[in-house]
Structure formats: structure tokens, C-alpha cells
């Protein structure tokens, strides 16, 4: 039955050109749907290169829809590592892993994936620039080097932070490569799944500039970039030769809609099929409509607050410990998140279990106002002002959470003020700042990607905000030990130090990602910000 919407009728009546106004109703000859997704932001650095887009908008869109790695995370499970473009891998020795590539995988330009493309994807020209491995020596380039393009200034540093001691790729044969690391590293499989995307060498060599290449990357992923207009729309079309099966969606259009109200209204009006990143207070609005529902929930990212030891008061660990015992985290989750997220046991996530790095039995500092009061008394605290600068909801519920926390702190005698700032990232290092908002995720199932990146040596907060010698020694163990038990024990001790003895941060709750979706769409949200539109997650 043919139905004409009121909008369609108006458009036809006025000009007969309203077809463009409802693209989501467009179907190809084989009736694959096209979908429209409202996101708060498209990739923030205006490229589609995951190495350059270290942001939630980048994570949401790029991998695995436009990029794929040798290994991948199970987005319908607990993010454990799975085969991707590699079918098999074996450990040759502590520092070398041999990877067998999936055969017959095609790039968007029709080329077959080979070992040369893998070597290119981890080359100096593509990612590492002039940086050197933290340990060991870089492998000499075999054969012709890829073309030198103008890499973004920070990209090699990002690459090094994700692969500190990566030495290079040795091509064994057309479908086999060996990845060399300067030091033994038990997390290498996790790193490959999180940050080991593969691009086409030929497309790189043919590109006029990095920007040109990075706005229309040629990969093996299920969708080809059709057009990208930064801060407006990103359109991708199905790549029918995708090795994982013919994509179920003809075209995906990502539309940047910065206002929450715009995303919600657009979904309810039928302009979008998905509305991302909705705050908890919009859940009732969406679920009040019989045609829509909310999917998603807690993700692998925790909301934390960072303590600034550069501040004279906060330098006293007794005051920090008192602050951690004064906060009722579950009350915040229940009141502000409607119970739709949870309080993790320390800065660790479910995916750590698959890598043997989850510390069972670990608990957060208990909510105990009496203990908080006695710690403050012991510290000689006398009502001095503690500044807790906040931004206008950079984090969902940031303002209300801070206000609730300030009241909880007040209950035990702490005098905390929450002034607004539009520059929260920088104020953390100001000695007048006592506490600041932060978040910490884990791109792979290991604390090395979350805790170490956020508060370890080389992180943004060092050296002024927090440092601890024993903690730093344990980071060394985490980075170099090949003994799983030793690494887990080191991690447990690190949580002891950073969350209880000499608190660097306080875990509040897991962040949550809520997506409004049309009820008739069969699609599952991942336990991450990533939206997966591969054939395996549709219909």
C-alpha cells in the first residue's frame, strides 16, 4: 500500500521537489534500508582517521563501520578480542607475534588485502613519524617506503602512546606478517584490536595530501565514505564486496545535531532513525512514544573526579580519603541516572575478565560519613574552601552531580564550591583547584589503556596534579611483565594506592550511552560508545 505523509503531500503540492526531504524512506532495488543518525558531533578533527580522531565521536562512527583491524573487539559481548582481518596468530617469542591474514579480503578500490598493506598501516609514514620505540630499536623499512604525506602534528605521539615500543612489521609472505615489539608485551592482542586499523597502501600512495586521504579512506570495512562535510553530515554507502557479508543497510547518513532537543525532536518527527547520546532525563520522553525505545546503557568508561595535589589542602591524603568516604555513589546513580548505570568496583571494567586482569573482590571506599568526619578531624581541616570547577555539562549530568556531591561533602563538614569554567581541562593544573571532573575509559581489556594513560607517567596530569613513586614502579611492571598473575597483582596494588592510600581519583559511576531508536529496527547497542552497523548486527 502506498502511503503519503503529510510532509510529502505538502512538498508535492508546493513544488514536487520534496523527495529530498525524506531520504530515510528511500529504498534501493533490493529494498535495503537507508538510515539517518543524529549525533552530537561528527569527528572533531575533520578527518575519518581513527589515529587522528581520539574522541568519542570518532569511536562511535569509525570502527568497525569505516575501519577494521587485524583483530577486533566483540561489540555484542564484553569487548573481548576476536579475529578480524587476521584469522590466526601465534607467539614466536616475547617480542614477536606472527599473524596470518584472512585471504580474499577486498579493499574499497578492489585491491586484495596483503601483508604490504599491513606493513604500510604500521609504518612511520602512516603513523609513527619520527618517534622512536620506548624500548628496543625500530625495524628497518623493507622495500619501498610509502609516500610521505603531511601527517597531523599530534598523530605520531598518539600512535606512540598506544604502541610505546612497537618496532615494525616484517613481511613473511603475501598473507603473513610478523609484528615486532621492543619489549615483551602481554597486551599486544588488545592493542591490535583497539588500535590496529588497516588501510590500502595504493590509495595512500595515490593521495594528494593526508587530508584528502583521511576524508575518504580506502579500507576493507563494510561502508565506503560517500561524502563528508565536517560539522554537518557524513554519508557512507554499502561496500557489497565486504568479506563479512553484504551490508544490510544501503546508506548511512550521520547528521551532526548538537542540541539534545534537536536530536529528540528529529527522532520523534521521523527525520532520524537513531538519536545518540541522550541524557537520562530524555528517556521518558522517548519511551512515552510507542514507536521508539532507548537502547544502550553502561559503557566501558567511568566518570571519576581527579584530586589535585598541587592544592595545599588536597595534598593531605586524609582530606582526599575523607572525600571518597563522603560520597554515596549509588544514590547518585539512582537519582540522576534512574539506576540505568552502575558503580564499578574501582577503575576496572567487565572486559578485563577476558584478559585475566579483573581484580575480584575489589571494592570502592565505602560510603561512611562518620569515617569521613573523623578523617577530617585527624587532618585538622577547619572549613577551608575547596574549589571544584565544573563545565556546563561537558559530561552528562555534570552540573547536578557536582551539586549533589558538594552537598554530600557539606554533610561531613567539607566546604566545596563549584564555580563554572569553560576551560575545565586546563584548570585542573591550577593550584587553587582542589577537585576536577574527568572520565577514564579502556580501549582494550587491560588497565594499561585506562588507568595508566590517565594518571600514569606521561599523562596530562603529571607531574603537578598527582604522582606516586610506588605507583610508577608498578606501571613499569604492568608494561613489561609477561606474568599474568604478577600483572594483576600489580594492578590491584595500583588501585590500592590511587583509590585508597594516596587517592589520585575517585570513581563515581560508569558512564552510559543512551540511543533513541525506532522500535522496529533490530540492532543492538554495544557496551561501548561504538555503533556497529555490520551485517552481523542488523536484522
Amino acid at each position: 500500500m502506498v502511503s503519503i505523509t503529510r510532509r510529502g503531500a505538502l512538498g508535492l503540492f508546493v513544488a514536487g521537489a520534496a523527495g529530498a526531504a525524506f531520504p530515510r524512506l528511500a529504498f534501493g532495488q533490493d529494498a535495503r534500508p537507508s538510515i539517518r543518525i543524529a549525533v552530537p558531533s561528527l569527528p572533531t578533527r575533520n578527518t575519518l582517521d581513527p589515529w587522528n580522531e581520539q574522541s568519542i565521536p570518532g569511536s562511535r562512527i569509525l570502527q568497525p563501520n569505516v575501519w577494521e583491524g587485524l583483530l577486533q573487539r566483540n561489540l555484542q559481548g564484553d569487548l573481548e578480542v576476536q579475529p578480524g582481518l587476521a584469522t590466526d596468530w601465534k607467539i614466536i617469542d616475547d617480542k614477536i607475534i606472527e599473524v596470518t591474514l584472512r585471504q580474499g579480503v577486498k579493499f574499497h578500490n578492489g585491491d586484495e588485502l596483503t601483508a604490504e598493506d599491513v606493513a604500510f598501516s604500521f609504518s612511520r609514514e602512516r603513523v609513527f613519524g619520527s618517534t622512536e620505540p620506548a624500548q628496543g630499536e625500530a625495524l628497518a623499512q623493507a622495500g619501498d617506503a610509502p609516500k610521505a604525506l603531511d601527517l597531523p602534528e599530534a598523530l605520531p605521539s598518539y600512535a606512540r602512546s598506544l604502541w610505546p615500543s612497537f618496532a615494525g612489521v616484517e613481511v613473511v609472505d603475501r598473507y603473513t606478517v610478523r609484528l615486532h615489539n621492543g619489549v615483551g608485551d602481554l597486551t599486544i592482542l588488545g592493542r591490535l584490536a583497539a588500535a590496529g586499523t588497516i588501510g590500502s597502501l595504493r590509495s595512500w600512495n595515490e593521495a594528494g595530501s593526508y587530508a584528502e586521504w583521511a576524508r575518504k579512506p580506502v579500507t576493507t570495512a563494510p561502508y565506503i565514505t560517500e561524502s563528508f562535510e565536517p560539522n554537518a553530515t557524513l554519508t557512507m554507502v554499502a561496500f557489497d564486496d565486504y568479506w563479512g557479508g553484504r551490508p544490510s543497510i544501503e546508506r548511512i547518513t550521520w547528521v551532526e545535531v548538537p542540541e539534545v532537543s534537536g536530536r529528540v525532536n528529529g527522532l520523534l518527527a521521523g527525520d532520524f532513525d537513531f538519536a545518540c547520546d541522550l541524557p537520562p532525563d530524555q528517556i521518558k520522553v522517548i519511551e512515552g512514544n510507542p514507536n521508539f525505545e532507548i537502547r544502550g546503557g553502561a559503557v566501558q568508561n567511568a566518570r571519576i573526579v581527579i584530586f589535585n595535589k598541587a592544592n595545599e589542602l588536597i595534598a593531605n591524603p586524609l582530606i582526599r580519603r575523607a572525600m571518597t568516604h563522603a560520597i554515596d555513589r549509588q544514590a547518585i546513580v539512582d537519582a540522576l541516572w534512574g539506576g540505568r548505570t552502575d558503580v564499578p568496583n574501582g577503575l576496572q571494567f567487565p572486559s578485563f575478565k577476558s584478559a585475566g586482569m579483573y581484580v575480584d573482590g575489589w571494592t570502592n571506599p565505602e560510603y561512611n560519613p562518620d569515617l569521613a568526619r573523623s578523617l577530617l578531624q585527624e587532618a585538622g581541616y577547619n572549613g577551608e574552601l575547596i574549589k571544584f570547577p565544573i563545565s556546563n555539562n561537558y559530561y552528562v549530568n555534570e552540573v547536578t552531580t557536582a551539586q549533589v556531591m558538594a552537598q554530600m561533602w557539606k554533610q561531613v563538614g567539607l566546604n566545596v564550591e563549584t564555580p563554572f569554567t569553560d576551560n575545565w581541562g586546563a584548570v585542573i593544573k591550577d593550584p587553587s583547584t582542589g577537585v576536577a571532573n574527568w572520565s577514564s575509559g579502556a580501549s582494550m581489556p587491560d588497565p594499561i589503556s585506562g588507568m595508566v594513560n590517565n594518571i600514569g607517567p606521561g599523562s596530562f596530569i603529571r607531574p603537578e596534579v598527582w604522582s606516586n613513586e610506588e605507583f610508577d614502579n608498578l606501571v613499569g611492571t604492568l608494561e613489561t611483565s609477561l606474568d599474568g598473575t604478577e600483572r594483576r597483582d600489580a594492578f590491584a596494588r595500583m588501585m590500592d594506592i590511587a583509590e585508597r592510600e594516596d587517592p589520585a581519583y575517585m570513581v563515581l559511576h560508569r558512564n552510559a550511552s543512551f540511543t533513541g531508536v525506532r522500535k522496529d529496527i533490530q540492532w543492538q547497542a554495544s557496551p561501548d560508545f561504538t555503533m556497529d552497523f555490520r551485517p552481523s548486527n542488523w536484522g
Partner: protein, 308 residues
């Protein structure tokens, strides 16, 4: 006339330099662009590499003088977000913004001026009160409220117009109405006041007394004089055409200059912000200059004042 034009040009240049200096100082002193672009969770090495590459480690005055010199050499710099030249990035947003602001200006002038004049000609009548009420409501209700109400009615409830984004001409309807609501109210109020002032002038009584029909009094004497004070308002509106509307473009996800300005300020993307401000300033200065010249041409009194 030559000295008049020269004075105005010098003032325009001084205005431009002030805008450039203020914008540079505020953006540089209010935060670290490296943190704004890469985020505070970025590794320290990445932040340092960014600062080095963009010269952010140099003293403030060195950065400022380099920037000003490059502008005079015609180089408006590159966007820190993607390294591409800022000027084309800004210019490619101009059509999207003009596609909202020009229809909005036309609506404003064709509805606002007649409404104000009709209200003045029927002073204290029901029609006058209705126009005043609508005008006051138009410019006092914030545009984000107007926009959201329109979306709720026409997109969510009736489903006849898109809720946002850019695509067909239908996508422009709600943003243009939202944008015009405020300015129609403003122009209607000004038009009414200007017309009332003229209607009370001695030369209107003189024209009536000499036997002219009331219609001719209005057409030949009242309207031409009432339009003069409106020129200043219209000049300001023309000057701000390119600036777009931050609020309206955000509500309707319209990829125009207002949205670009917000994003660039948040990212402390100096080259892009400066490009936008320079364009807006130049257009504003040109519009004001044109209004001054027009007024001097249309109104002998102001010409005489300038000579005096």
C-alpha cells in the same frame, strides 16, 4: 567628501585592528588550544607536539605580531582542527548562512515596515494595539523558544516540515521564520515610532493645510522622511547577514557561519575565528559606510552637519 571618506576608512581600519587584537588576546589568554583541540586526556607528548607545531610555545607578542603580519600578507592562517586554510573553510559556510539570512531580511522588511507604518497610521486603534503586542512578543520571546515551539508544532506534531538540518528548501522554512520573528518585531516597532514622529512634524501639518490629499501627504512627505531613521537599523541587519545566528543555526543544526563560530571558539581555533570576525567586521563597516553615505545623500540636513 574626500576627507569624509578618508576619515571613515581610517575608522574602519582601526575597528578591524581592534577586533583582531581583542579576539587574539581573548582566545590565547583564555585557554590552551592544544587542550581544546586534542582534549585534556591527550598524552602529554601529543599536546606538546601540537603546541610546537602551531607556535604556541612562543611568547604572546611574537605570536601576535606573526599573526598580524601574515594577515597583511593575505595569509589568514590554517585551522588548528584539520590544518587546512581557514579562509576557504569560512567562505564555504557563507552560502548556507546567506540562504537563511537573506530570506529572513526580505521577510523582515516586507512585513515589519508595512506593519509599523499601518500601526502608526491607525494609532491607538485595535489594529495598532495588535501590531504592538505581536511586535513586543516577537522580540522578547527568545529565538530558541520560538524555534523549539515551531519544531514541536510543525515537525513533531503535524509532521509537515523537517525538524532541522540542510537539504531541500523545506529545511529552511522553520529557521527563517524563527530568525525573522525577532527582527520583524524590532523593525515594526522602529517603523511605527519613526512614522509617528514624522506625522507629528510641522511640515506634515503644512502639507495638509495646503490642501493635499492625506494619501499624498503620507506618500510624498511622511514616508520618505520616516524611512531615514530606519536606514540605520537596516544597515545593521545587512551588516550582520554573514554572521548568521548562533542560536538558530544550533537549534536547527544548520551548517552555517554561526555554528562554525561556536565550534571554533570552543576549540580556540584562532585562524577560523579571526577569519569570521574579519569578514563580519568588513561587511558591517561597509554597510555602515553605505548607510552614512545614503543618509548624507537623502537627507540634506545631515549633509550640512557633516560640512559644518
Amino acid at each position: 567628501m574626500m576627507s569624509f571618506a578618508l576619515t571613515r576608512l581610517l575608522r574602519a581600519f582601526a575597528t578591524l585592528m581592534l577586533v583582531i587584537t581583542f579576539a587574539f588576546s581573548i582566545l590565547r589568554l583564555s585557554g590552551d588550544p592544544a587542550i581544546a583541540v586534542l582534549g585534556p586526556m591527550a598524552p602529554a607528548a601529543a599536546l606538546n607536539a601540537f603546541r610546537e607545531a602551531w607556535g604556541l610555545t612562543e611568547p604572546f607578542w611574537v605570536q601576535y605580531s606573526k599573526y598580524v603580519l601574515s594577515i597583511f600578507a593575505g595569509d589568514f592562517g590554517d585551522s588548528m582542527r584539520d590544518g587546512l586554510p581557514a579562509l576557504p573553510l569560512v567562505l564555504e559556510r557563507v552560502p548556507a548562512t546567506l540562504s537563511l539570512t537573506i530570506p529572513s531580511l526580505i521577510l523582515t522588511l516586507t512585513i515589519g515596515i508595512p506593519a509599523g507604518i499601518v500601526a502608526a497610521l491607525h494609532r491607538n486603534s485595535l489594529l495598532d494595539r495588535t501590531v504592538i503586542l505581536a511586535a513586543v512578543a516577537g522580540f522578547t520571546v527568545p529565538s530558541f523558544v520560538v524555534g523549539l515551539v515551531l519544531v514541536l508544532i510543525f515537525s513533531v506534531t503535524l509532521g509537515v516540515l523537517p525538524s532541522g538540518g540542510q537539504g531541500s528548501w523545506l529545511h529552511g522554512v522553520l529557521p527563517i521564520i524563527t530568525m525573522s520573528t525577532v527582527s520583524i518585531g524590532l523593525v515594526a516597532r522602529y517603523s511605527r515610532s519613526a512614522m509617528l514622529e514624522v506625522l507629528n512634524a510641522p511640515y506634515i501639518r503644512a502639507a495638509s493645510a495646503k490642501g493635499l490629499k492625506w494619501r499624498d501627504v503620507i506618500r510624498l512627505h511622511a514616508l520618505p522622511n520616516a524611512i531615514l531613521p530606519l536606514l540605520t537599523i537596516i544597515g545593521l541587519m545587512v551588516g550582520s547577514l554573514i554572521a548568521g545566528s548562533v542560536v538558530v543555526e544550533s537549534i536547527f543544526s544548520w551548517p552555517g557561519m554561526g555554528r562554525l563560530l561556536i565550534i571554533s571558539v570552543a576549540a580556540r581555533d584562532l585562524a577560523v575565528v579571526q577569519c569570521i570576525l574579519i569578514l563580519i567586521t568588513v561587511l558591517m563597516v561597509c554597510a555602515n559606510l553605505t548607510v552614512d553615505l545614503l543618509q548624507a545623500w537623502l537627507d540634506p540636513k545631515s549633509r550640512n552637519k557633516a560640512h559644518a
